[in-house]
């Protein structure tokens, strides 16, 4: 009895609420169309495959877009899409149809959806992260890690007896970097021994450490990781094996992980690359003729530093050579990605 009464009361309440909601809708302050602005606002949109504050891949792009918003006075909007291919195409269209001039799909998986939408919006640039695609206004952005690794290879062959590379998984960004290293080392000494290992993931620091230790045991004195978090194991192994073993910080400053051994650090700032693109699009100077490959020529996107406090700092003549090689790579005279022997 009581139950039924409760339901009636509830029903009446809800119906009133519904009616109120319906009646309230038109009265709600709908966004008034902004009076024609003096200047067309620069609008940038970002499609993320994950959470914007993941302290990793997605945050790089998110932070870059926040900078674009601040530094270029752009109107910025982003959408987190999880891993939902069904949503990608729609999100591109949602942005493009609202007049966004630049849209970034943060991952190669956005290629197909961007292609499907882009032809309907010729005045919008569709950028795709870690992609080498190029089709009119769909432009892949990629950081070419083979270039800095080429430099490391040159340094290793100049300073050491043998090198070991510890990779996470055998995926293009990693294996291409290693190809660059091998090419660099062999440009100095064609017989310089380089061994390569993939531990199969990006998290197992213990496995990376084991791999590094066994390489050192086999006579390598120059060990470089490219395995994200697992790379920390390599720095441990190197630090424990004595000051004669050298290494490089990869994608950041790792000097404090092995102060004696880290002879330099390689920094990459993909976010800066994104900001540069936005700048070019905003100023109307962006005239794409191919996909965009960030390399050593983009000094604010990719650079090396040296650690003078290391046990074996990089000698002056080698630094000079590195500078020359850098110039040649930047000028496109050296192909760091040539198939390695």
């Amino acid at each position: 009895m009581k139950q039924r009464l409760v339901w009636y009361v509830l029903a009446v309440l809800l119906i009133t609420a519904l009616l109120a909601a319906c009646a309230g809708q038109p009265a709600a302050p709908t966004p008034t169309p902004t009076p024609a602005p003096q200047e067309k606002p620069f609008k940038v949109g970002l499609l993320l495959p994950g959470s914007a504050n993941d302290q990793g891949w997605n945050q790089i792009a998110y932070d870059a877009f926040k900078r674009i918003e601040k530094e270029l006075g752009a109107e910025m909007s982003y959408v987190e899409l999880e891993q939902s291919p069904a949503s990608f195409e729609k999100a591109f269209r949602d942005f493009a149809s609202q007049g966004y001039q630049m849209i970034l799909g943060h991952g190669f998986e956005f290629q197909d959806p961007a292609l499907a939408v882009a032809k309907d919006y010729p005045n919008t640039f569709f950028f795709i992260s870690s992609s080498r695609i190029f089709a009119g206004n769909v432009i892949g952005l990629n950081t070419d890690s083979s270039q800095p690794f080429y430099l490391m290879g040159v340094i290793a062959a100049k300073m050491g007896k043998g090198a070991g590379l510890v990779g996470g998984m055998e995926i293009p960004p990693i294996s291409e970097a290693f190809t660059g290293f091998i090419n660099g080392a062999h440009s100095v000494d064609p017989n310089f021994p380089v061994s390569v290992t993939y531990i199969g993931n990006f998290t197992d620091a213990a496995a990376a450490k084991e791999a590094a230790l066994s390489m050192i045991a086999q006579g390598a004195d120059f060990i470089i990781p490219n395995a994200d978090v697992a790379g920390l194991g390599v720095y441990q192994a190197v630090a424990e094996s004595g000051p004669q073993i050298a290494t490089f910080g990869v994608f950041g400053d790792f000097t404090d992980k092995a102060p004696q051994n880290v002879i330099g650090n390689y920094f990459a700032d993909y976010g800066q690359g994104i900001v540069n693109m936005a700048k070019a699009v905003k100023e109307g100077t962006f005239k794409p003729t191919g996909n965009v490959e960030f390399g050593l020529k983009n000094k604010d996107v990719m650079w090396l530093t040296f650690n003078d406090k290391a046990a074996r700092p990089v000698p002056e003549d080698v630094r000079k050579l590195v500078e020359e090689v850098t110039a040649k790579i930047a000028a496109g005279e050296i192909k760091t990605l040539a198939p390695a022997k």
Binding site: M1, Q3, R4, V6, W7, Y8, L10, A11, L14, A17, L18, A21, G24, Q25, A28, P29, T30, P31, G45, S51, A52, S77, Y78, V79, E80, L81, E82, Q83, S84, P85, A86, S87, E89, K90, A91, R93, D94, F95, Q98, F108, E109, D112, S131, R132, M169, I171, P172
Partner: protein, 378 residues
């Protein structure tokens, strides 16, 4: 005294006497009212959820009217928006109505996500490697293989349940991981696109395997129609056939079912096969209708959302069509809410979660209130 129908009539009369005001309502209304309320309650749940979300939006400094307007327009603003909602609803309807069969059998299949992946893998393999068939053969084949693989993946858990009495909640969750990580292995290894840049994705399926789109320029494909048909078929199966009756009986009381001569194990397996098959079909349709190739992750959690879709509709396949569309609209509208109203996705997820929570809470309340006033206890 033990005749329940007599009891009901008696209480009915008592009520009319006790509350004269109620006499104004005809008895038919009294009888229909609870049912009506049962149907209204999901809507009430949604309204309540949106109301709470409104407070949250205000607290977070957003204009809820604008957010909801944008959300509504994003979901139903024009033909394209509506079609996108239906596209998102397609896997949810399929998975949800499949799960309804399992849930009706009291089999808690949490593995629709894995079964979805199994179907997607099957469809992709057929779509890549069989290149010479015309599309009127190719499309059925792709969908069939996807369905079969999903069904097999589901039956694996079903078999473990009937053979070893392994808890299907645990096994289906575990099988999810195997399917998802297995897919990751396939697209980074044996099935990786031989052309183009070594991305962890398969090649595109052949043109003949792609589902036709029937409402250009939108992307709405025949997968949605298939989902509707499947939901209707499963409705008929559950409520209008002896198999469905047996499945429901097993679900309510397996001991009684066995006593009545129903082969319990066979129907558990069947329920798992149907619900796995529906999820597998959803995976196949997602590949053949939308993504055209397989990625490491192809589902944003359809398999889990499908559970909520089924529960919201009280495991009724026809209701699942509506709740599937609702969840599709929530998802679609939420994306536009991020883009246009700039409501951060965390808030959007909270809103989606609130809807599910309210729906479940209302459902529980309804069950509770229906069961509590038993005549025997008075």
């Amino acid at each position: 005294m033990n005749d329940p129908s007599r009891e009901t009539t008696m209480t009915m009369q008592e009520r009319s006497v006790a509350r004269p005001g109620m006499c104004l309502l005809p008895k038919a209304v009294l009888r229909i009212a609870p049912r009506l309320l049962a149907m209204i309650s999901p809507i009430a749940a949604i309204v309540l959820a949106l109301f709470i979300s409104m407070l949250l939006l205000i607290a977070a400094g957003y204009n809820p009217a604008r957010a909801y307007t944008v959300m509504w327009q994003g979901a139903f603003g024009d033909l394209r928006a509506i079609s996108e909602v239906l596209i998102k609803a397609t896997p949810l309807i399929l998975i949800g109505s499949g799960l309804a069969v399992a849930f009706r059998c009291s089999i808690w299949n949490i593995g629709a996500e894995g079964q979805f992946y199994a179907g997607a893998v099957g469809a992709t393999i057929v779509g890549i490697f069989i290149t010479s068939l015309p599309s009127y053969l190719m499309i059925p084949l792709v969908l069939l293989v996807g369905t079969l693989l999903g069904a097999l993946w589901g039956m694996l858990a079903g078999y473990l349940r009937v053979r070893f009495n392994a808890n299907e909640i645990v096994t289906t969750i575990m099988l999810n991981y195997i399917a998802i990580i297995g897919t990751g292995y396939l697209v980074t290894g044996p099935l990786m696109d031989p052309a183009g840049g070594k991305y962890p994705q398969t090649a595109r399926i052949v043109e003949a395997a792609m589902l036709p789109r029937f409402l250009p320029p939108t992307r709405l494909h025949i997968g949605f129609i298939i989902a509707l048909i499947v939901a209707v078929i499963l409705y008929l199966l559950i409520f209008k056939t002896s198999i469905g009756y047996a499945i429901r009986t097993v679900g309510i009381n397996p001991v009684t079912a066995r006593y009545a001569g129903i082969h319990v194990e066979r129907h558990v397996l069947l329920a798992m096969a149907i619900s796995g098959g529906a999820a597998g079909l959803a995976g196949a349709i997602e590949v053949a209708g939308i993504s055209f190739r397989l990625y490491q992750q192809i589902s944003p959690g359809y398999g889990f959302e499908g559970i909520a879709v089924a529960l919201l509709a009280n495991n009724h396949p026809l209701g699942i069509i509506l709740s599937g569309i609702l969840f599709g609209a929530l998802r679609s509208g939420a994306e536009v809410m991020q883009i246009s109203a700039k409501v951060p996705s965390v808030l959007v997820f909270v809103i989606q979660g609130l809807v599910i929570l309210c729906v479940v809470a209302f459902g529980l309340y309804r069950l509770h209130s229906r069961w509590e006033p038993r005549p025997e206890k008075e």
